[in-house]
Symmetry: C2
DNA sequence: CGAATATAATTGTTGTAACAACTAATTATT
DNA sequence: AATAATTAGTTGTTACAACAATTATATTCG
C-alpha cells in the first residue's frame, strides 16, 4: 500500500522544484555581479520597467514586473530611498502616483544592463541556440498556463 | 550614446527573469493545492528529503534540498513545531542532530504526494513529452552551470 | 598535549513574496 | 447628489532565502 518514496529522484524530476533551484542560483549570480552597485536583482528589474514606461502608475508597474502590489510598493520604497526613482501624485487621479526614474537611476541602468546580459549569456553558453529558443518558448508557455491555473475556479 | 531600453522585451528574453516568474507561479499553485494541509511547498520538499534519508544530519538535508543552512534550520523549526519531524543529538558528534520524520509526517507525505504530481502533470500537459524531457534536461544543465559560476573565483 | 583550524548549527539582518485587511479616492447607481 | 461599488495604494503578518557573525564541538598539527 505504502509506496516507497525516493525524494532525490522525485524532486529532481519535479519542474517546480528544479525551477526554484535554478532561479535562485541565477538570481544569486546576478546579485554577485551587481555587488558594486547598490541594487538587488528584483529592484533592478522594477527599475528597468520604470525607466521604460516613465510616468507609469504603480498598478501598471506591478503588472508588468509580475509582482503583486504590496511587493511593488516595498520595492519602490527601496528605490525611492536610494534616489533611483521619484513619485508624484497623478493630477488626474489623486489615489495614484506617477513614478519616474531619476538621472541616477538611468545612469545605473546604463552601467548595469551589460551585467544582466552577461548572466543571460552564461545561460546561452551552456546550450545550443536552438535549445535556448525552445527553453524560453517553453517558459513563456508554462507561465501563461500557470497564470491561468492559479486564477481558475479550482483544479 | 544612450541606447533606448525596452524593458518588456529585454526582460521577457531574460531567462533569469522568466525563471523567477514561472517558479513563483508554480509554487503558488502548489501552495493553493496544499491549502488543506498545514504545510508550505518548501517545507514539503524538505520533509520529503528527511523522510527518505531518515536520520540525516541538517548539513546533508540542506545540501540535498538545495538550501543554505540557516534556511534549513528555520524550515526544520517549522516542521518540528508541527510535529512532522523529530531531532536527536548525534551520539557520535554532539554538534550535530539526526532528523527523523514522524508517523504524522509520513502520513502527510503519503496523502500529498499526489498533489505534487498534479502540478508536474500540469506542466507536462502544456508541452509534448519530448519537450518536457528537453526542458528538464536543460534545467539540470543550467543548474550545474550556475552552481559552478557562483562558486568560481570571479566571472 | 595544546593551540589553531574546521565544522554543525544557530541567530541576526535584509530583501522578496503571498495573503488579508485597510484607507482614500473614484466611478456607478439610483 | 447620496450611497454603493470599485480601484490604487499601503500596512500587517507569515514564510523563504542570502549573507555575516556566533557558539559549541571536533579535528589537526606543531
Amino acid at each position: 500500500m505504502t509506496m516507497p518514496i525516493n525524494p532525490k529522484i522525485e524532486l529532481e524530476r519535479s519542474p517546480g522544484y528544479m525551477l526554484g533551484l535554478t532561479y535562485r542560483k541565477l538570481s544569486s549570480l546576478l546579485q554577485q555581479r551587481l555587488k558594486a552597485y547598490d541594487i538587488t536583482p528584483e529592484q533592478w528589474s522594477v527599475l528597468l520597467h520604470i525607466s521604460r514606461g516613465n510616468g507609469m502608475i504603480q498598478k501598471d508597474i506591478a503588472e508588468q514586473a509580475g509582482k503583486d502590489h504590496p511587493t511593488t510598493t516595498r520595492i519602490l520604497d527601496q528605490l525611492l530611498k536610494k534616489g533611483f526613482v521619484t513619485k508624484q501624485t497623478d493630477p488626474n487621479d489623486r489615489r495614484a502616483f506617477l513614478v519616474f526614474s531619476t538621472p541616477e537611476g538611468q545612469q545605473l541602468l546604463e552601467e548595469t544592463i551589460a551585467i544582466e546580459h552577461s548572466v543571460t549569456k552564461e545561460v546561452q553558453d551552456c546550450m545550443t541556440e536552438q535549445d535556448f529558443s525552445k527553453f524560453m518558448e517553453l517558459l513563456h508557455r508554462l507561465n501563461a498556463h500557470a497564470a491561468y491555473l492559479i486564477n481558475s475556479p479550482t483544479k
